[in-house]
């Protein structure tokens, strides 16, 4: 008599059909969650970790970020008579430790995440591409 205990009304299927129909007809709070990416971008959180940026005036070239970088991504190089970090994005894991350890709060991370490129060499971001001048901006 196992067949008697089965759900012959198929209420499970009907419940599922109602749920999917609500999605099709957009009944209730069921918005489209995907984004048409190249044409439309998602709103980023303020703490999103993208490409680095270095404050030209604050950075003292101490090399603490270089020491603390877990992947050995950062290297301190000379740029216009001062020393600044250079980041190899191809190896970076965007952990944000360099931002945390910076004693001058000179290093920060922007919302730029479209970093794909054609060669490994162009993934090495030197100070010329990382530096920004806080005073000029203000």
């Amino acid at each position: 008599m196992a067949w008697i205990s089965k759900n012959w009304t198929m209420s499970g299927i009907i419940k599922g059909l109602i749920v999917t129909l609500k999605h099709v007809l957009r009944i209730g709070d069921r918005p489209t969650v995907t984004v048409q990416y190249p044409y439309e971008k998602m709103k980023l959180q303020p703490r999103f970790r993208g490409l680095h940026a270095v404050d030209e005036n604050a950075c003292i070239g101490c090399g603490i970020c270089e020491v603390n970088c877990p992947n050995g991504t950062i290297q301190i190089v000379k740029h216009n008579t001062k020393w600044y970090p250079q980041v190899n994005i191809g190896m970076c894991l965007f952990c944000g430790i360099c931002v945390d350890v910076c004693p001058m709060n000179a290093m920060k991370m922007t919302g730029n995440y479209e970093l794909a490129d054609y060669s490994r060499e162009s993934l090495i971001y030197g100070p010329d591409r990382l530096l920004f001048n806080k005073e000029v901006k203000q």
Partner: protein
């Protein structure tokens, strides 16, 4: 006109009537008569009909592929194709261009002849099914006296093509998929035919036009005289059996992506794959059209007796398409909701539940008809 008297037996007569109405039929006919080749005119008209039908089916299939992706996307809270054309409407065209551009591969150890023949053998019956289907009043290629039998017989060719494709590919997944597909096809054709016979008991005719005209009018002035109300169990059985015969998702054992790569068309690429794909969606459309013809009153609709006679073919075509797309939407909706069954559940459902229920349905219908209840 909605109450049963049909103006033209088929589209050929409709075209002749329209040509006469414009006033050019007699001159064309005289021209062909003068040359002594009257039959050529008839052939030309029939070829035009078939060409229009073919183009219509291909456009419908292209639209269905787009619609399927859109419905899945809406269920899954996505957009679906959006880039090509308005709302991605030209996506099927791009897919077609891509498939034509692909390399037409034949596996080295495949049976070349059977491998090449199988896509055609599955594609042509999918189109032949439309010959006795009434798309609207007098919009039918040929009103066969054995229309329903013809439809069931023609759809029974497809298991052979599936088995040919699976065997000739020389691939274990293809063969496994083909065997499953054939087992499924054969076990679900029986309840399909049995529940169709229960409808035929009411009409006493296998002609699809007779079946549609028997469903015009209303009971008590507000219930349409559709067979779904006389045969609710038959309708459900026919719908489930036809979805299973199509091999759509609750019963998609012929493909089952997670088990057999793509089933019997694993080894196909390019145009041959496109033919399997087109046949699948043409089959979806034809099966929905048959469900509408048998149970939902075909092109007939009650409460619209005031329409002028000249507009009837056009409006009835619209009504038929609306009903057919409702059934197609149901099939897509079901596909997006339920997961795949197990193979033993499928055969249990087919042989232990659907066939006995179809037989009981047929028996009760025959008994009630003989007793004179209807």
């Amino acid at each position: 006109m909605w109450t049963g008297d049909i103006m033209f037996a088929n589209t050929y007569e409709l075209i002749v009537y329209i040509l006469n109405y414009i006033g050019i039929y007699n001159s064309i006919n005289d021209l062909f008569k003068m040359l002594g080749i009257e039959y050529v005119l008839r052939i030309i008209i029939v070829l035009v009909e078939i060409g229009v039908l073919f183009v219509f089916i291909l456009l419908t299939v292209m639209f269905l592929t787009w619609m399927e992706r859109k419905v899945v996307a809406m269920v899954q809270a996505r957009y679906g194709p959006m880039v090509t054309g308005p709302r991605g409407l030209l996506q099927p065209v791009m897919d077609g261009v891509k498939l034509i551009g692909k390399e037409d591969l034949i596996p080295a150890k495949a049976d070349r002849w059977v491998f090449t023949l199988a896509p055609f053998l599955i594609f042509i019956p999918a189109l032949l099914v439309f010959i006795p289907l009434p798309f609207g009043e007098s919009l039918i290629i040929s009103d066969l006296k054995v229309g329903l039998l013809y439809i069931i017989a023609i759809s029974a060719i497809s298991p052979i093509a599936i088995l040919m494709a699976g065997w000739a590919s020389n691939n274990k997944y293809s063969l496994m998929g083909a065997i499953r597909a054939v087992a499924q096809d054969i076990s679900y054709t029986i309840p399909l035919a049995l529940s169709a016979i229960a409808v035929v008991l009411f009409t006493g005719s296998l002609s699809t036009v007779d079946i549609v005209t028997a469903q015009s009018g209303t009971w008590f002035g507000f219930i349409p005289k559709w067979f779904i109300f006389l045969q609710p169990l038959g309708f459900i059985l026919f719908l489930i059996a036809s979805i299973a015969e199509m091999g759509r998702i609750p019963f998609d054992f012929q493909e089952s992506e997670s088990e057999l790569v793509a089933g019997f068309f694993t080894e196909y690429s390019g145009m041959k794959f496109a033919m399997f794909f087109l046949a699948e969606y043409a089959h979806l459309f034809s099966v929905s059209a048959i469900v509408v013809t048998l149970f939902l009153g075909g092109w007939s609709v009650p409460f619209l007796n005031f329409i002028p006679a000249a507009l009837v073919p056009l409006i009835s075509l619209g009504v038929f398409l609306v009903k057919t797309y409702a059934i197609i939407f149901f099939a897509m909706w079901l596909r997006d909701t339920v997961p795949r069954m197990r193979i033993d559940q499928l055969l249990n459902l087919g042989w232990k539940i659907m066939i006995p229920l179809a037989l009981i349905n047929l028996l009760v219908t025959a008994f009630l008809l003989t007793a004179g209840v209807f």
